[in-house]
């Protein structure tokens, strides 16, 4: 196979559709792909991440989370992560094309911050649902697993809220699956670090960056944490558990 067709088949294998699975972040393309100018433009288009639509209207989560917050959170904060991620990936690709390793390393924190922000928020929007549509409690496999770990859903929520409330600065509280042990875990993450870096599969995340609640709850993070369980989409959490379970 010629170099050009080899590069194309590598690119073809690396290609994933524009609508990305929301729990994954594509890894940078195999080195050397961009050095072929025929591939570079094609591959750049592949790299663009897009802001997912919310599964509901901005006002749908009221009164728990206001429309003002939802609009800002989605259109400003999440959108900025997506834009900054794309910009960082473009710079990374350009550095990679020149085999500029230092340039590549320089982009890694921006990719982690903004990529993490994109991953986390994409999960978050699906973890929530309007109050009228939310089931009041988990059921089936998820309920069983929660009861096994914490005794009851109430105990789980109280433990989750204590740990998440205690996060210093900006971060997230997560319910995750430890695939190795098959057990559920509560785990907090700082900044926008994705839960995957802690070796867990994210099932349910609660954003406790101040932008997630400040306009409504001000410094009363515990009040926000108490209220948010009214709009947790247990069905979505169950689906994620099913998807992640062997």
């Amino acid at each position: 196979m010629s170099f050009v067709s080899k590069a194309f088949s590598r690119a073809a294998r690396a290609f994933t559709p524009a609508v990305r699975p929301i729990t994954s972040v594509a890894s940078p393309l195999a080195p050397g792909v961009f050095s072929d100018p025929l591939v570079a433009g094609f591959a750049t288009a592949m790299q663009s991440y897009t802001l997912p639509d919310l599964p509901y209207d901005y006002a749908a989560l009221e009164p728990v989370i206001s429309a003002d917050i939802m609009k800002l959170h989605h259109q400003k904060h999440h959108a900025a992560y997506v834009n900054n991620l794309n910009a960082a990936l473009e710079k990374y690709a350009a550095a990679e094309a020149k085999r500029d390793l230092q340039g590549m390393i320089q982009q890694q924190s921006a990719i982690k911050f903004n990529g993490g922000g994109h991953v986390n928020h994409s999960i978050f929007w699906t973890n929530l649902t309007p109050k009228g549509q939310a089931s009041s409690a988990p059921s089936g496999k998820l309920a069983k697993a929660i009861e096994t770990e914490w005794g009851s859903v109430d105990k789980f929520i109280s433990t989750f809220n204590t740990q998440t409330g205690a996060i210093q600065g900006s971060g997230w509280g997560w319910l995750g699956l430890n695939k190795e042990s098959g057990r559920l875990q509560i785990h907090t993450m700082a900044n926008q670090d994705p839960l995957s870096t802690a070796g867990l599969v994210p099932l349910l995340g609660i954003d406790v960056w101040e932008h997630a609640y400040y306009l409504q709850y001000k410094n009363a993070r515990p009040d926000y944490l108490k209220a948010i369980w009214q709009i947790v989409n247990w069905k979505n959490v169950e689906e994620r558990l099913t998807q992640a379970s062997p």
Binding site: G169, W209, Y214, K218
Partner: protein, 223 residues
């Protein structure tokens, strides 16, 4: 004996050993920084956030050996965790209120101006770099203008979450800017860059000058 000579005009002190830390008064009225920083922001930032750090700190030191330590001592000796976080945030916020003033802002004069131009080339370059550091800090933290006693230069550093330059003996703090979201969300929502514009309209150069002179004075006494 607990009103220690300090590099900075304010001090969070106790009158006697058994008293708890107190939230220092704001150096100005709550509406004095408007329209750059609103009264509403100060009501929450000072009245709720800063006050809560003080309350938490008092609860954490009560009936422990730490209740006899000064605030700076606690910050310098505490391991990472709630005690450090609350103590550092008490100190950071007090330094922040003093870094702002009504009818202030603009460009510095005197020794601090000379030092900035000496180390950054121009005030404009310094301003751009400080704004870049402050707006670019990811998530919660602080941007500082410090005198680095090792390089003898004024420098811009950022700290994360409750981090403070107090824990690094080579850094002498001159000014700080809070970039936690609670510092600007009420007035500027996500637009941290706009908040920095406001900060430049309020920056208290007199405080920075005082802090710089205090470092020089301390060095003069030591030599």
């Amino acid at each position: 004996s607990f009103i220690r000579p300090s590099l900075i005009t304010f001090s969070i002190f106790r009158i006697c050993r058994s008293m708890s830390f107190v939230l220092p008064d704001l150096p100005y009225a709550k509406d004095a920084l408007a329209p750059h920083i609103s009264e509403e922001t100060l009501n929450f930032h000072y009245g709720a956030h800063h006050r809560t750090y003080v309350t938490n700190l008092n609860n954490l030191v009560k009936d422990t050996p730490n209740q006899d330590k000064s605030l700076e001592e606690i910050i310098r000796t505490a391991s990472p965790g709630p005690l450090f976080n609350n103590a550092a945030q008490v100190w950071n916020h007090t330094f922040y209120w003093n870094s702002l003033a009504p009818n202030a802002g603009g460009e510095p004069q005197g020794a601090i101006r000379d030092k900035i131009i000496e180390n950054f080339g121009s005030f404009e370059t310094f301003k751009q770099e400080f704004s870049k550091k402050a707006t670019g800090h990811f998530a919660s933290g602080w941007a500082w203008l410090v005198l680095n006693s090792e390089t003898k230069k004024v420098e811009i550093v950022d700290t994360h979450d409750a981090g403070t330059v107090l824990t690094d003996p080579k850094y002498h703090p001159l000014l700080t800017c809070d970039v936690w979201e609670h510092a600007y969300y009420i007035d500027y929502r996500n637009a941290r860059a706009k908040y920095l514009d406001a900060w430049w309209s309020l920056v208290n150069w007199k405080f920075a000058e005082h802090n710089l002179h205090a470092v020089y004075e301390l060095k003069r006494r030591k030599s």
